[in-house]
């Protein structure tokens, strides 16, 4: 292959709950000529532990992730803003003043969130396709605020019929384990989001993070809504 070598860090949520997103990611990357490798010993980046303050557990998962990714070739592509931020930004804090500092530098510098990689890094002609559907886009918080992911979705969705989603940069209420620890609060925030999705006129909600997507999809399904919920890469690559 002549295209760039990439390492896919698929994330544990995609691996277990949304493997079609992983398959679509592989397809989308190969479509633009990438040579995709999958370091198969990978697990979880450690974010769930990090976000509830269980720092030793977070470090354990992060160390494993570093060992799996270090020494491989090319960009580490992650179909999740949130997990990409974890590796690219928060590992530094986890391993400050330890003998892993150099390793963190090496690995975190290679991490790219998927849409960032396709649009900014490759300048690829990848575009989302959704025949006969009307899409709305939800900006996932960590990608938006910590990686500055904003224009990437506009580029990728330019050929789709897209409607405005009110409050599209507001949190969906997921917040990781927050959704389980404080269900009433998480649900109330989610309900606002779902109301706005239903009011947008879209029949398909798109985002770049599976975590938000399973939250929104699970909530819509409980309401009996027919609105489809998809990761943006599912409209770019073939995940079937």
């Amino acid at each position: 292959m002549e295209g760039p070598q990439v390492q896919l860090f698929v994330t544990c949520l995609v691996d277990v709950l949304a493997p079609q997103v992983g398959r679509a990611t592989v397809d989308a990357l190969e479509e633009v000529g990438c040579d995709v490798a999958f370091p198969s010993d990978q697990g979880c980046c450690g974010q769930p532990a990090f976000n509830v303050g269980l720092i030793d557990d977070a470090r354990r998962m992060a160390a494993h992730t570093l060992d799996v990714l270090d020494g491989t070739e090319g960009s580490v592509v992650v179909p999740s803003g949130s997990c990409a931020v974890m590796i690219a930004h928060h590992y530094r804090e986890l391993f400050a003043d330890t003998d892993r500092e150099e390793q963190v530098k090496r690995v975190s510098a290679r991490v790219r969130e998927l849409t960032q990689f396709l649009v900014d890094e490759l300048g690829s002609s990848s575009r989302a396709r959704c025949e006969g559907c009307t899409v709305a886009y939800h900006y996932s918080c960590h990608g938006l605020r910590e990686l500055g992911l904003e224009h990437q979705a506009d580029v990728l969705l330019q050929d789709t019929t897209r409607v405005e989603l009110e409050g599209d940069k507001e949190c969906c209420g997921f917040g990781g384990l927050f959704a389980i620890e404080m269900p009433a609060v998480s649900t109330a925030i989610m309900d606002d989001k779902l109301d706005r999705i239903e009011a947008s006129g879209a029949d398909t909600v798109i985002s770049g993070d599976v975590s938000c997507l399973i939250h929104i999809a699970g909530g819509l399904r409980r309401r009996g809504s027919q609105i489809e919920v998809k990761h943006i890469v599912e409209l770019i690559g073939d995940g079937t």
Binding site: F50, M61, E146, I180, I189, R222
Partner: protein, 466 residues
């Protein structure tokens, strides 16, 4: 107060109520106004950087700035008192009021006075205390606590207030804001004229001139600090900048972030009590500089929260605050800022759960005029709570097991297979509708996609063979 001891308990009691709706409407209005102000002034981004540098500089040199401030204030004829904790601050205020034979006290808005629970203390000593900030006046009349640092009765609608005025002040019901304002003004005017002492907060002290700055939108702060014989200003120890040049930058960002105003309607600068050639002003000015846990915060990993200039923008931007409202936090300091400062001031017991009342969405940091790294500090406090063993057992054990499992590929594979098999039993159409144990928290309102029959790992192995 008889209220649930956890954030979740208090929030559950509030979510979906009329009060929560009022909060949501109110904060969205603030956010819109702020947005316009941000668009109007592209230089605000630079001003925020400068405001941050100014505030962090002040925190680093706090001892020196406070000493300089005290010297300058004393030179201008004012008195400075240092209060170690809330009891100390209450005692100092009470002593001043008793020595000056004060009976009636008017107050302009001071969150520090809420922090040290001053009103109750003074009333127990037989003093009459009248809140004169419109919001605080309403809260006092309703026997309620403020729910937002700059908009104390954000949780009430004008209809609620109309009804309250009719019930408590014996006026005909109206929900016209101008009329409600007029009623409050008439009611308060007498108190201003008769009051022996005025108590205010301090938005900012300026060390170089020994001045205190008060910002208000109603002008009540001006009356409170000039009409009575005695003025007592309650100041959080960290609310200081070194120079007027710095104060100007902070003021530029404060009102814009809070209400979208370029500047609050009244910006009062007070340097000492009435001087010989002043037409009015108090005979005595006392500034009580209050520590009450701030030194401890300053020495720890959340010191940066003391850079806060109390605009309330992080409350407005926070989805959790918008949903549950300020009363869910159980303290005068609510929202993301309150979740950091409250455990710092009053300890982790029982406030350790406040830092967990966040989705970590980062909207707070995005709007903070001094760019305080709020999510980072929420995480810091979560770490502290976890290291003190405060997390629920299921969470601690569950995460530990997840960590052990996912770092061992063979074990992780087995776990995924087991989860998939279990899902085969409890899922229908690829979704799980009800989960046992803590998972109930999720399925109380959401379905969960089932763990896939073929994980991505499985697919890769079958199709790409490595």
């Amino acid at each position: 107060m008889n209220q649930p001891v956890t954030f979740l308990g208090r929030a559950e009691a509030l979510i979906g109520t009329h009060e929560a709706d009022a909060v949501d409407n109110g904060v969205r209005n603030f956010l819109e106004l702020r947005e316009k102000a941000v668009e109007e002034l592209p230089a605000l981004a630079d001003l925020r950087d400068r405001a941050r540098a100014i505030r962090l500089h002040a925190l680093r040199h706090l001892d020196r700035l406070l000493a300089h401030f005290a010297d300058q204030l004393q030179a201008a004829g004012g008195h400075v008192h240092w209060a170690v904790d809330a009891a100390d601050a209450r005692q100092i205020a009470a002593d001043i009021l008793q020595r000056t034979e004060s009976r009636l006290v008017v107050k302009s808005k001071s969150m520090v006075s809420e922090e040290i629970e001053l009103n109750d203390h003074l009333e127990a000593l037989g003093l009459e205390v009248v809140e004169t900030d419109l919001g605080e006046f309403i809260a006092q009349l309703a026997g309620d606590t403020p729910s937002h640092i700059i908009a104390p009765v954000l949780h009430m609608t004008r209809q609620d207030i109309g009804k309250l005025f009719a019930d408590e002040l014996g006026v005909p019901y109206t929900d016209d804001p101008f009329e409600l304002n007029r009623i409050a003004r008439v009611h308060l005017r007498e108190a201003f004229l008769l009051a022996d002492a005025g108590i205010s907060g301090v938005n900012m002290a300026v060390a170089e001139s020994g001045s205190i700055v008060l910002v208000t939108n109603e002008g009540n702060g001006r009356l409170v600090t000039t009409a009575p014989r005695v003025h007592i200003a309650l100041m959080g120890m960290e609310r200081i900048v070194s120079r007027w040049e710095d104060a100007a930058v902070v003021l530029e960002t404060l009102a814009r972030s809070a209400t979208g105003q370029r500047l609050s309607v009244y910006t009062n600068v007070i340097t000492g009590p009435r001087q010989d050639d002043d037409p009015d002003g108090p005979e005595e000015l006392h500034v009580i500089v209050i520590d009450n846990g701030r030194s401890q915060i300053l020495a720890g990993e959340t010191a940066e929260i003391l850079a806060c200039i109390r605009c309330g923008a992080c409350l407005n931007a926070c989805p959790v605050f918008r949903t549950a409202g300020g009363h869910a936090y159980g303290t005068p300091y609510s929202g993301p800022f309150g979740s950091i400062v409250t455990p710092g001031l009053h300890g982790m017991d029982p406030w350790w759960d406040l830092p967990f009342a966040s989705t970590l969405c980062g909207a707070c940091e995005e709007v903070c005029p001094v760019r305080i790294q709020i999510p980072k500090m929420l995480l810091q406090l979560r770490r502290q709570a976890a290291s003190e063993g405060r997390l629920p057992g299921w969470l601690e054990k569950g995460i530990a097991r997840y960590a052990r499992t996912t770092v061992e590929p063979a074990r992780w594979e087995r776990a995924k297979r087991w989860a998939s098999r279990l899902a085969g039993v409890i899922a229908t159409d690829g979704w799980i509708r009800r989960m046992p144990g803590p998972g109930r928290g999720w399925t109380s309102s959401r379905d969960l996609p089932r763990p896939a029959k073929e994980s991505f790992h499985d697919w890769w192995r079958s199709n790409r063979g490595s």
